[in-house]
Amino acid sequence: MKKTLFDKVWDSHVVRKVDNGPDVLFIDRHLVHEVTSPVAFLGLKNRNIKVLYPERTFATADHNTPTINQHLPVKDPLSANQLKALEVNAKSHNIPYWGLGHEKNGIVHVIGPENGITLPGSTIVCGDSHTSTHGAFGAIAFGIGTSEVEMVLATQCIMQPKAKSMRITVTGELNEAVTPKDVVLYIISKLSTSGATGYFVEYAGDVFENMSMEGRMTVCNMSIEMGARGGMIAPDEATFAYVKGREYAPKGTEWDKAMSYWKELKTDEDAVFDKELNFNAADIEPMITYGTNPGMGVGISGGIPNAASIDGGAATYMKSLQYMDFNEGEDLLGKKIDFVFLGSCTNGRIEDFRAFAKIVKGRKKADHVTAWLVPGSHKVEEAIQQEGILDILTEAGFELREPGCSACLAMNDDKIPAGKYAVSTSNRNFEGRQGPGARTLLASPLVAAAAAVTGRVTDPRELKTLESV
């Protein structure tokens, strides 16, 4: 039978099939962070068992950490307690732990690829829904709940039925200022937040083939926002070049062996997907969201749709606009904003900082805007300094914070105040996601940069024109 990329990786990891039940899936690598793991470790303790394969398990602190003064003790006692618990658990189970201040510390989905933990054709899980990020390497990667974290710690397996398969193909040339973030926001706006529920998505077509690894990660990252279990892209030369030489990646003959497996990781020509969708790159504009789920996005020059044009509940739609204090039919361009957040596992990598810097270079941060620029890891932070991006940012009146999830989920002090508008490069605009009452507009680093210097929702293409005048 012809197989999809997803089939190939999934089937090669099935330890056994349960009759009329799920598959027992072997997990190559398990990433652990402080928020979703403590109760799982407690479960191991109650069962009196140890982590089965600590060498396949990696722990970092990211969700609940401050992004300033990381060298000082964590102020919030509950957060400090949770961080301590992870440190103690990691030590007692011999798991590598990259805590606050460690050179490899950063957002779990940024440091996995950076250190070569994320490999093509592998299975990767983490107690975090954006684990789908790692699918950019042709891995099956998805988020799990805490019971499953305990399960993987105890047995290195999870029990799940195989998802249905969907292929999303985007072909053609991307328009000016259209980034991977816009591509994925566009797809979600077409599918809605539940359009891919029950599916595992493969992204195909020249748009993804021509994307950098960072861009592919941005796309796969947001697969969960269309409801998908995960998303993946077939590995190619760009993937191999990225992985090669990274600390935990195979070396020498191991590398050659791995490569012969990885090169097979493509969907067979006649393989059949349960669902196929096709989009045209030319139809995609820089995107922005106006509502309270990531499916509520439009091209930046389009206005807020009328309730009548929306499928599904008008009541839910109006509730969402009310939360945002927006009206049907209104323009988004020109809306005054208060905060800009550049960061998260969606857009907190070096490429995102380069894009942001490109726009703010030679301009100044708008006075009324508070900007939080949060690198995804210490390695990203280092690259920002080395490439001279820090100088550009400083010159334009911005400051860089220390790595972590930060305002993406606002578990630490980085909370957008109630009623304030934030243009954010993260992945969720749910009510209160960035702080109680916070109003989030999701966008690319270019749109975020344009908003940061003008203080308003601005089409980045306009700033480019100004430049050339």
Partner: protein, 198 residues
């Protein structure tokens, strides 16, 4: 973590006819700092339930004593967003044993099943019937029969069957969890691991 067995549940229900209820609403991130599974029910739907000064919001359904019971009925696409199992814990800890919707997000559904909360997916039409029945009389009782895989509106002659995979059903009926199963086949796992390079 072992949980109570689930067989037949007869109860009134709490209606929440809102679509796309995400896990950030079910339990906001700032309440995820605990290192034990305790007390999450107090913060279930925190920001919809309480004002910033912690006084209850009058119009929110959990603050309306007319509605109670062990069943939560939500609109389409319930539980989207974050994988936090804390959302399922909060639902359980508040006292719900069953969530009904016409569509569930994957991870939330899984998390519920793993902790002994039964997610029951019904058709859009049946969901409407349930909401109408509660609206007409908040004391309407529902019966969720797991062995038979049916949900009924008691006294209204309305029944629909629902799907659940046999393995998960057995687990719920017996109060087992996946880890018990997996620990039992540890030898298989270990030999698989040997053939699977890092």
């Amino acid at each position: 973590m072992a949980y109570d067995k689930f067989k037949v549940l007869k109860s009134t229900a709490v209606p929440m006819p809102i679509e796309n209820v995400d896990t950030d609403q079910i339990i906001p991130a700032r309440f995820l700092k605990a290192i034990e599974r305790k007390g999450f029910g107090d913060n279930l739907f925190r920001d919809w339930r309480y004002n910033q000064d912690n006084t209850p919001k009058e119009h929110f359904v959990l603050n309306n004593p007319i509605y109670n019971g062990k069943i939560l009925v939500g609109g389409k696409n319930f539980g989207s967003g974050s994988s936090r199992e804390h959302a399922a814990w909060a639902v359980y800890d508040y006292g719900f044993r069953c969530v009904i919707s016409s569509f569930f997000a994957d991870i939330f559904r899984n998390n519920c099943l793993n902790i002994g909360v039964l997610p029951v997916q019904v058709s859009e039409e049946f969901l409407e019937i349930i909401f109408k029945a509660i609206e007409a009389d908040p004391k309407t009782e529902f019966e969720i029969n797991l062995p038979e895989q049916t949900i009924s509106v008691l006294g209204a002659n309305a029944t629909e069957s629902f799907q659940i995979n046999t393995y998960k059903k057995e687990n719920l009926l017996n109060g087992f969890d996946d880890i018990d199963y997996l620990l039992n086949i540890k030898d298989d796992i270990e030999s698989f691991a040997e053939s699977s390079p890092l």
